[in-house]
Assembly symmetry: C2
Homo-oligomer: 152 residues x 2
């Protein structure tokens, strides 16, 4: 049997493309896509600086885009792919939207949800981490190196 | 010394006014205001149904309004007044926005942040609960009684 090209790695690479848009826009490069039955129904990238809005994370934008697209407030059966471990706010939104699956690339050792949120809260969500994490980490490292270079 | 009329109760009543707008709009009646030095710089009410967006909670709308107003992404020194205990998403947004103080009226015994988020996460935020809680509870009870009546 031939495996579908539409695996977790494929969709994470689409999220990385979103993160690259953030990078180009001088934002911390984080991107997200919402997938339903192998179809991307929402995408977003970090726009906190552009919008001066602390809630404008990639995941929030992708979730709002997806619910606009389907015209409903729940995303049951959908998967969220994001290039960095979500923060507490975004994990709350993922739960509120009733996602079935969350896939993230790199872990966030300071502000990631897994440090602060009880596992009971997200026990119904299929959780996969580490997918294409080196792509995400490299992009983030490049961004912060560039920033640091600009400051010197 | 005469106490200022601009106390926690005053601002919570302004949040209740926002919740009443949600009620009129057939949304679960929850409202929020952002206050900086006795000035309301952002307000919002629950619009999840109207927008079909699970992230359109009163707090999120009030936070985005306030950051738009000040043209900055942080709300240091600001207080958030909300008529119901925030969910995990909203508590994450409150933290991301760097609020100094959170005041809520009624507790939310099923989905409130305090059930799922580690206290260490919000230890820097001055937390006050129970302010005008009966006003908030009555409005919520009226709403759900009305809803139930319509279903029978």
């Amino acid at each position: 049997m031939i495996n579908s090209i539409f695996d977790d790695s494929y969709f994470m690479k689409q999220a990385i493309k979103e993160a690259e848009k953030a990078y180009e826009d001088d934002e911390v490069p984080i991107g997200a896509v919402v997938v339903f039955e192998q179809l991307i129904i929402g995408k977003g990238y970090n726009q906190v600086e552009r919008l001066k809005d602390p809630t404008a994370h990639a995941e929030m934008i992708a979730i709002t885009a997806a619910t606009n697209y389907i015209g409903g407030k729940y995303l049951k059966g959908c998967s969220l792919f994001v290039t960095l471990e979500p923060c507490v706010m975004c994990m709350g939104a993922i739960k509120a939207a009733r996602f079935s699956k969350l896939v993230y690339a790199a872990s966030e050792p300071k502000t990631g949800f897994s440090l602060f949120v009880e596992p009971a809260y997200y026990k119904k969500i299929d959780l996969i981490k580490g997918v294409e994490q080196s792509l995400s980490k490299n992009l983030l490292q490049d961004f912060f190196l560039k920033k640091r270079g600009m400051q010197n």
